[in-house]
């Protein structure tokens, strides 16, 4: 028996040794990458030539070529190294790189990862610099609004520069040519929207004599499908409602949420909503719209993509965006994604070692928001990738070339809101205007800046309980009693705890 124990110990020791060797090796590599910067640590010259490495998220299929990168380097006086992280594998990649200690000077942490338990723990335990007090020293970073700073901080600390974006991109896209065929006008309230969905299904809007169309396209999630947008119209709070006394109510315990479910259920039962939405992916949903099966789509920003997809299969397609659908009380509302913040640009202390280095990197981030760099990351090089026409409107010259050399950068712009471009495509410009207009009536999620241990540990599971129950309700697979039972399960599995944690955090923040 004693022998077994000894082997066990040896095995454990061996494992530790091996893993520490692996970690050690990674650490070393990292050091050599950053030594070049150390020399500049005595005197801070904010514009001195600097080597900066960055792990941005790649939201498109392939990384952009270095044509634009060179221009950005020139404009910011830096030598840049981009280590792109594909969007699909960002969770694993990010955790693995934190574990290995092999971190770049700048790490892009997208909003969806801010609630990831490992990432959040790393942020809270000081792996990254707290940059809150530095922001006001830089002209562009100074302009980051207090709301956005609050939305992206954890327990009052800002562990990076927030990615700024529009507050809300919600709205609906409707087939304009179908509306015209049926002699209908663009809907402005929920009842009219219902009538449009009905007519799109029953009155043969494409005039081919076949019953092969339906109103709403939708997909297997509530948030980015049709449901959350409809819920906003009905007056459902964005995630949570908070009253004067600091009492939190989850959105699905409001009357408006049940009204939305009832509305969607009616759509589904009559076939005005995609019968297969519960098993439809985003791509399939886009396809169904582009192919002319469905006529209504939730989400304004997809207009360009839908038009591109329809090329060649459905050239007649005309789309009208609409962001103002009045609720039962006549008010406009739309939910805000991340309260205008799309994650953080964080600076790990293991790579950015001194305050002086941090200041140089912050200067770089600040410079990225300068108009010339912003244009480089948005449109690329003027007259090569894009042009500004006689009306001052922005136009991409060669779409494939732009996709290859520029598009990858556009998802990593620290601010999408500092400059407004006039788009040469009138539909696109209309969408841009609507998104700006949404600011006026966008609904914030009060829990974005708040800390909840339960949310970080089991938020995804808890969400799943409610999502499943809601979809079942819409499909008529469960009734109100079944839904209430799911809400009870949610409460018992941690929902109540989460609510308590939010209330406490809210109290602490608003003292």
């Amino acid at each position: 028996m004693a022998n077994y124990k000894k082997y066990g110990k040896m095995l454990a020791a061996g494992t530790l040794l091996a893993s520490s060797l692996v970690l050690g090796a990674c650490g070393k590599e990292d050091k050599t990458a950053t030594t070049s910067k150390k020399e500049s640590s005595e005197k801070v010259d904010l514009h001195a030539k600097a080597d900066i490495s960055w792990s941005p998220i790649l939201y498109v299929a392939t990384a952009p070529t270095d044509v634009v990168e060179k221009k950005i380097e020139e404009a910011t006086n830096t030598n840049l190294t981009f280590n792109w992280i594909p969007d699909a594998t960002k969770d694993e990649r990010m955790i693995a790189s934190i574990a290995s200690g092999e971190l770049d000077d700048i790490i892009s942490i997208p909003q969806t990862l801010m609630t990831n338990s490992s990432i959040r723990q790393a942020l809270k335990s000081g792996v990254f610099w707290d940059v809150g007090k530095y922001l006001d020293d830089y002209p562009n970073l100074k302009k980051i609004s207090q709301d956005r700073r609050e939305a992206s901080s954890i327990e009052g600390k800002l562990y990076g520069v927030p990615f700024q974006k529009d507050f809300a991109r919600g709205g609906v896209l409707i087939r304009k040519d179908w509306l015209d065929n049926l002699g209908m006008k663009v809907p402005t309230n929920l009842d009219e929207l219902y009538e449009v969905a009905k007519a799109f299904t029953e009155k043969d809007p494409d005039g081919n004599g076949k019953n092969d169309t339906f109103g709403w396209s939708d997909r297997n999630e509530l948030r980015y499908g049709s449901f959350k947008t409809l819920a906003s119209y009905f007056g459902v709070p964005n995630g949570w409602a908070v009253d004067k006394n600091g009492k939190f109510t989850p959105e699905f315990e409001t009357k408006a949420y049940k009204e939305t479910m009832e509305y969607s259920k009616k759509l589904y039962k009559n076939g005005y909503l995609d019968k297969d939405f519960a098993v439809t992916s985003k791509d399939d949903q886009l396809q169904k719209f582009a192919q002319g099966k469905a006529g209504i789509y939730a989400g304004l920003i997809s207009i360009t993509q839908l038009k591109n997809m329809a090329q060649g299969i459905n050239n007649k397609i005309e789309i009208v965006p609409q962001n103002k659908i009045a609720g039962p009380d006549g008010e406009y509302r739309i939910w805000s994604e991340g309260n205008g913040v799309n994650g953080l640009l964080a600076f790990p202390k293991s790579a950015v070692k001194t305050e002086a280095e941090l200041k140089r990197v912050l200067q770089f981030v600040n410079d990225l928001i300068n108009e010339d760099v912003f244009m480089l990351m948005t449109g690329g090089i003027k007259e090569t990738h894009y042009t500004i026409d006689e009306n001052g409107a922005y136009k991409i010259l060669d779409n494939p070339l732009w996709q290859k050399e520029v598009q990858g950068f556009s998802g990593s712009r620290p601010s999408e809101i500092t400059y407004k471009l006039k788009d040469a495509d009138p539909d696109k410009q209309l969408v841009n205007d609507m998104i700006s207009e949404n600011d006026k009536f966008s609904q914030m999620d009060p829990t974005v800046p708040l800390e909840s241990q339960t949310r970080t540990e089991r938020g995804t599971e808890l969400d799943k309980i409610i999502i499943d129950a809601t979809i079942k309700y819409i499909m008529g697979e469960t009734d109100e009693k079944g839904f209430d039972a799911a809400v009870k399960t949610w409460k018992d599995s941690g929902g109540d705890q989460m609510k308590k944690e939010y209330e406490e955090a809210y109290k602490k923040a608003n003292k």
């Binding site: 095995l11 454990a12 061996g14 494992t15 530790l16 091996a18 893993s19 520490s20 970690l23 969770d91 694993e92 955790i95 693995a96 934190i98 574990a99 200690g101 609630t115 990831n116 338990s117 490992s118 990432i119 959040r120 723990q121 790393a122 335990s125 792996v127 339906f214 297997n220 995609d274 019968k275 297969d276 519960a278 098993v279 099966k293 970080t456 540990e457 089991r458 938020g459 995804t460 599971e461 799943k464 999502i467 499943d468 979809i471 079942k472 499909m475 697979e477 399960t489 018992d492 599995s493």
Partner: protein
């Protein structure tokens, strides 16, 4: 274990110490001589042994994070120890029994419906006398194995969707009610096992076909002389001959009880059929990996591994009891 210690005790009492030592020495010398004599065999096996140590045994050390609150930036050495916290969470989770039930049910489908099919198919193929026809069929039924689950599930989606799906269109044209193949719980399970059969049926016949070709043709001749029909020959000659292979495959299959193919099931699970289709693998992905809870995921993985090990050992023992060879 108990037997061997008892034996050692016996020896101790019977043999004087001196003689025992001498015996030990002789035994050691014999082993050493054996190693020297077969040194090339040992050297040849070295890469294999190293492979197992480096890629299979050393990584097992990572299991200890199941007993920690592992934080990637702290590493294994500095993460706090939490004992059995993650296991307690797993077993007290309200969904635990649902997960276990679903996992076992899908496994049962695999075992009772899928498992016999390749055997029957191999026996049928074996009876085909035309060589070209046989190898043609074989090639065709092997192909699905090389397709990924994404493709197979997507094909099924196109066929089975309620809106524009070919199968439902057919049902509707004959005046039937459309069937929610993809969302209904029971139908999802049926679709699952049909997909497994379609993809793996052909590939799994390979090993049985190999076993069948090893049967002594003399046995068939003898059976024929005794007037056995084709069916009789299969029943009394072929099947008993490949029985050891079947048993081995069965034990291996049982060892994979809780490995039902994450990719496949993940693609099939949706909000409506979750209570019927969610299994440990898919649950770990959403609850563990997506939330960055590496320790919890590891704990569930360890639990799966242990259950698998127990089942393999149990079924192996059972096989031996019934006079079969077993795995080891």
């Amino acid at each position: 274990m108990r037997e061997s210690t008892a034996l050692a005790d016996d020896q101790q009492s019977v043999l004087p110490d001196l003689e025992k030592n001498a015996m030990k020495k002789r035994a050691r010398a014999r082993t050493l001589a054996g190693i020297v004599r077969n040194k090339w065999l040992y050297i040849m096996s070295l890469p294999g042994i190293l492979y197992f140590i480096i890629f299979k045994y050393l990584p097992m050390g990572g299991i200890i994070i199941a007993f920690q609150d592992y934080q990637p930036f702290l590493g294994i050495a500095n993460s706090p120890w939490v004992g059995l916290k993650h296991f307690v969470r797993l077993f007290t989770e309200p969904t635990f029994f649902m997960l276990l039930g679903n996992t076992l049910l899908l496994f049962a489908l695999n075992l009772f419906i899928f498992f016999p099919i390749p055997i029957i198919l191999a026996l049928m193929l074996n009876e085909v006398k035309n060589k070209y026809f046989k190898s043609g069929i074989q090639t065709i039924i092997y192909i699905p194995h090389f397709m990924s689950w994404v493709i197979i599930v997507s094909i099924c989606y196109v066929f089975l969707a309620q809106d524009g799906g070919a199968v439902n269109a057919l049902i509707a044209s004959m005046g039937g009610e459309k069937v929610p193949f993809l969302t209904d719980g029971t139908w999802s399970r049926i679709v699952y096992i049909l997909q497994v059969i379609w993809k793996e049926m052909g590939w799994s016949t390979i090993i049985y076909l190999a076993a069948v070709t090893a049967v002594d043709p003399g046995l068939y001749e003898a059976a024929k002389m005794d007037g056995a029909s084709r069916l009789r020959q299969i029943w009394h000659v072929t099947l008993p001959a490949i029985r050891p292979v079947i048993i081995t495959m069965l034990i291996l299959k049982i060892g994979h009880t809780l490995d039902l193919g994450f990719e496949h099931v993940y693609l099939l699970v949706n909000s409506i059929n979750r209570n019927f289709m969610e299994i440990f693998d898919t649950y770990v992905y959403t609850a563990g990996m997506k939330n960055g809870q590496l320790s919890f995921s590891t704990a569930v993985g360890l639990f799966k591994g242990v259950v698998g090990l127990i089942l393999v050992m149990g079924s192996n023992r059972l096989a031996k009891k019934f006079g079969e060879e077993g795995l080891y």
